[in-house]
């Protein structure tokens, strides 16, 4: 708790950035059927459970072509 109070100026934007990434990646996974590899379930797990790295990995490796 003490850490939270002291470091909120750091944690707040960090959590925000992470949420933005998580939500955009999750929406993209759900709206598309084609991935370069892997299934929808796999990518949902990766995106939700691996903070930052999961969504980045999805956008760099998993996202099918186009939009």
């Amino acid at each position: 708790m003490e850490i939270l109070q002291e470091y909120w100026p750091f944690l707040l934007p960090l959590i925000l950035a992470q949420l933005v990434l998580l939500i955009t990646a999750l929406m993209h996974v759900l709206k598309h059927q084609n991935y370069r590899f892997g299934s929808r379930t796999l990518w949902i797990i990766v995106v939700v459970f691996f903070q930052i790295l999961g969504p980045v990995a999805y956008f760099v490796f998993g996202r099918g072509e186009d939009g």
Binding site: Y7, F10, L14, I52, V56, F59, V60, G67
Partner: protein, 254 residues
């Protein structure tokens, strides 16, 4: 010139809509925030792992540690993400056939290469600037103001090295057809440069000096002159690589 501007705009739209810009921005924003935080918290974390009764002395963290984090993160994960994000920059368009249609309409091939490089360099510049700014703001907030030497110059060296890597990547993309070809060429390039450092006198001229000497610069243990040779060579090599990419691509049968 007109084609160049049109195509830079197209590339930037592509980066925004295919999440390349988002990934780069978020990764470098997160670095910017965590750099000072990790520097600040590391001693506390270490002492919490030390068993009761044992005392070790940990030096008080400073602004210098925050910037050490900045350079470490940008040079390792940062550059890797940069290269990965842009690995398909040319090959995916050539393979899919989206470019040929525009080329038959008279789009100049030179404009394609120059625009792609410029747009990538723009995203890289934005990422470095935002990450450095955040690191600076939070460092000032957390630590007493220390006089740091050559900080801007050192960041400039990092930026130039990234630009150099992008040029290697682009040339690789004109030479090899597959998406991973450009990655392979870039990886091989970095490996060769690293191995070259074994030769005692080579280090001074090697582009890698721009990223290995960062903390020496900031700590003030070396000044700017030792880096001039590497700086000049990297800048020249970057221009030469882009020129070569233009040449290779204009001769290429699509």
């Amino acid at each position: 010139m007109n084609h160049y501007i049109v195509f830079v705009k197209k590339e930037l739209l592509e980066y925004a809509r295919t999440y390349k810009l988002l990934v780069m921005t978020v990764v470098f924003v997160i670095f910017g925030i965590t750099n000072p935080l990790i520097a600040k918290l590391t001693p506390e974390l270490i002492s919490s792992f030390v068993p009761e009764g044992m005392t070790i002395t940990i030096p008080e963290p400073s602004a210098l540690d925050a910037w050490a984090q900045f350079f470490k993160n940008s040079q390792q994960v940062g550059l890797i993400v940069l290269v990965l994000v842009f690995s398909g920059v040319l090959s995916s368009e050539v393979a899919k056939g989206t470019l040929i249609n525009l080329l038959t309409k008279g789009l100049s091939r030179q404009a394609v290469i120059l625009a792609k490089y410029s747009a990538m360099a723009l995203v890289w510049s934005w990422s470095v600037v935002i990450s450095a700014l955040l690191t600076w703001v939070y460092t000032v907030y957390l630590f007493p103001v220390d006089p740091l030497s050559n900080l801007v110059f050192s960041i400039f060296c990092l930026w130039l090295f990234g630009g150099f890597l992008l040029a290697v990547l682009l040339l690789g993309a004109t030479l090899v057809r597959s998406n991973y070809g450009s990655l392979l060429v870039t990886g091989a390039g970095v490996l060769i440069l690293t191995v070259l450092n074994v030769i005692p006198q080579a280090g001074k001229y090697n582009p890698t000096a721009l990223v290995t000497k960062s903390m020496d610069l900031v700590a003030g243990t070396i000044g700017l002159p030792p880096l001039y040779a590497s700086l000049g060579i990297t800048a020249a090599a970057t221009l030469a690589l882009i020129g070569l990419a233009v040449l290779v691509f204009s001769k290429k049968q699509l």
